[in-house]
């Protein structure tokens, strides 16, 4: 399944018109963002309802670096975006997850949601950040004297980064650390009695996912050429939840498939049914979540494959 998706992704710009390549690049970046949510929710069971705060703050951060410092080098702005996402996730995760007792799902989901809402309000009200209009006309990202503008080059850059991050996440969730995450998701109280430092595990994966969201946010900012408060807010945070639920959480590839499916259907519906397409999309999402709660990925993968195995008992092969 993963190889099929990669092959399609690699060949797409060869057959797509330019404007569709630009749209597909945006979708790839959103896939990267969806991976970050799948890690925290699908693998560690942390309901981060404010994942956009890391995506958006990194986007704003690199936009300010480009606007105020004139730095657009890919070698600086992408690591900067990643670090901004990581730093914000460390602060928010430290507050929400590192108490003496494990935090409840409700506390974490409301805490992250509040963080996202607050960041959105700050961005809207702060003149330095452009207020409601955000920061327009961000200069293009560059490598030496070469400007990386939207189109096939940006597409393959986004695809390459998505592939790297996907492989890194895949390595992580299939490692013994991934087994600890599975334990966290299934029964965190139980694994605390084995000696796992549950809060620390949660904070680590939350911060790692924040870094990925930050990387996605910085790519998104330069691709779109501007940043705006919605990038930080509740709408974006909800959107990423839907991507992962629609595709199937806890599989990585499900997050990618869900993002592509929702964005492709939205694109097609918005062209064909301009007045009622959000309603049709909403009904479609509801149908999938009601009848396929494990997401679209459950059409091709059984439950055992989705849960995965971490050890290799004799007579069994992965």
């Amino acid at each position: 399944m993963e190889i099929v998706v990669l092959a399609i992704g690699a060949l797409l710009p060869l057959v797509l018109q330019d404007y569709l390549t630009v749209y597909a690049t945006r979708v790839l970046i959103l896939c990267l963002f969806a991976l970050s949510f799948d890690l925290v929710w699908g693998y560690a069971g942390i309901m981060s309802f404010g994942q956009a705060v890391f995506f958006g703050t990194a986007g704003y951060g690199v936009a300010l670096i480009a606007r105020d410092l004139g730095v657009t080098s890919i070698l600086i702005v992408l690591p900067a975006g990643l670090l901004i996402g990581l730093a914000f996730a460390l602060v928010l995760g430290g507050f929400l997850l590192l108490g003496r007792h494990p935090s409840s799902v409700i506390f974490v989901s409301l805490g992250t949601l509040t963080g996202s809402y607050a960041a959105d309000r700050v961005a809207r009200g702060w003149y330095y950040l452009g207020g409601q209009n955000g920061i327009p006309s961000i200069p293009p990202m560059s490598l030496g004297s070469y400007d990386i503008v939207e189109g096939p080059v940006y597409y393959y850059l986004a695809l390459g980064i998505l592939l790297l991050v996907y492989l890194l996440c895949r390595f992580l969730v299939r490692s013994q650390f991934g087994l600890a995450l599975a334990g966290l998701r299934e029964n965190e109280q139980r694994i605390a009695f084995f000696g796992y430092q549950v809060q620390r595990l949660k904070a680590i994966i939350f911060s790692f996912a924040g870094a990925i969201a930050g990387l996605a946010g910085s790519l998104y900012a330069f691709h779109e050429g501007f940043v705006w408060p919605n990038m930080l807010g509740v709408v974006m945070s909800t959107q990423v939840v839907l991507y992962v639920l629609f595709g199937g959480s806890g599989t990585l590839i499900g997050a990618v498939i869900g993002t592509v499916a929702i964005e492709a259907v939205s694109f097609w519906l918005s062209n064909s049914y301009q007045d009622i397409w959000p309603i049709i999309l909403g009904v479609l999402l509801l149908l999938v979540i009601l009848f396929r709660p494990a997401g679209l990925i459950s059409l091709v993968l059984g439950e055992r494959e989705r849960v995965g195995r971490f050890g290799r008992p004799p007579g069994e092969r992965d």
């Binding site: 013994q176 009695f193 000696g195 290799r312």
Partner: protein, 244 residues
């Protein structure tokens, strides 16, 4: 010096006093049973020892160290392991992964990320499954096991990290007579390796495997001593007859 010493434990929930000055002493390699009528405070005492509850007053020392305020994870790292009253295996994971999860709990983060101990722990995981007669089911999800087998898996998970003290809360709950007999057989060999505190309603079972018993009634220790001493204790007889 005793391995575990709980002194003067009081636990109050609102208006209910669940423990009222209970003591418990367990020596190295001792099998110690906690018995008493329903509501006598057995499970609360177990929770205070394991760290699931913090006592209102009183102290718990383990290996000479005060662990009264320590978290469950800190107690586990000190060598304490618990099997919950309600079976809490991880149903979606295979039996092998359930055991591996318990075994790797004290592995460092970098080693977990790079799966450095997976090979080393493999033999230990298989040995635990073999010991608890579950090796043929290693690749099955834990949800596919019968209730009794899930209890065995959970005891195996609790034993896997080689604790100094194993706490078992009603390990034979819901088991058939044959499963209870087998559970007794499975527990006997661990005596060489660790101490055991067990809460159990089946008095025959507890009499067969324990060296010493503590009898609780209304949150206090009614009597404590060898199995023979408890069997002949007039105070204990009276409480059990009164409740019957």
């Amino acid at each position: 010096m005793a391995l575990l010493e709980a002194r003067g434990l009081i636990k109050i929930y609102g208006k209910l006093t669940a423990l009222n000055g209970a003591d418990l002493t367990v020596a190295d390699n001792e099998f110690h049973g906690l018995i008493g009528p329903n509501g006598s405070g057995k499970s609360t005492l177990m929770k205070c020892v394991a760290g699931a509850e913090i006592p209102t007053t009183g102290t718990v020392t383990f290996g000479g160290r005060d662990i009264t305020q320590a978290s469950p994870a800190e107690r586990a790292r000190a060598g304490m392991s618990l099997k919950f009253q309600i079976t809490s295996v991880l149903p979606a994971l295979t039996l092998y992964d359930n055991i591996l999860l318990a075994l790797q709990a004290q592995t460092s983060l970098p080693s977990l990320v790079f799966s450095r101990t997976r090979g080393v722990l493999h033999d230990r995981a298989m040995a635990m499954l073999e010991q608890f007669r579950l090796v043929d089911r290693a690749a099955d999800p834990a949800s596919a096991l019968s209730h009794g087998q899930q209890q065995w898996l959970e005891i195996a998970m609790a034993l896997a990290p080689e604790p100094r003290l194993l706490l078992l809360d009603e390990p034979t709950g819901g088991m058939s007579l044959e499963e209870r007999r087998v559970t007794g057989e499975l527990l006997q060999p661990i005596k060489k390796r660790c101490s055991l505190v067990i809460v159990e309603h089946d008095l025959d079972f507890i009499r067969d495997i324990c060296d010493r018993l503590t009898v609780l009634d209304q949150g206090s220790v009614l009597d404590c001593g060898s199995v023979q001493h408890i069997q002949s204790s007039a105070k204990v007889q009276e409480v059990y007859l009164r409740r019957a």
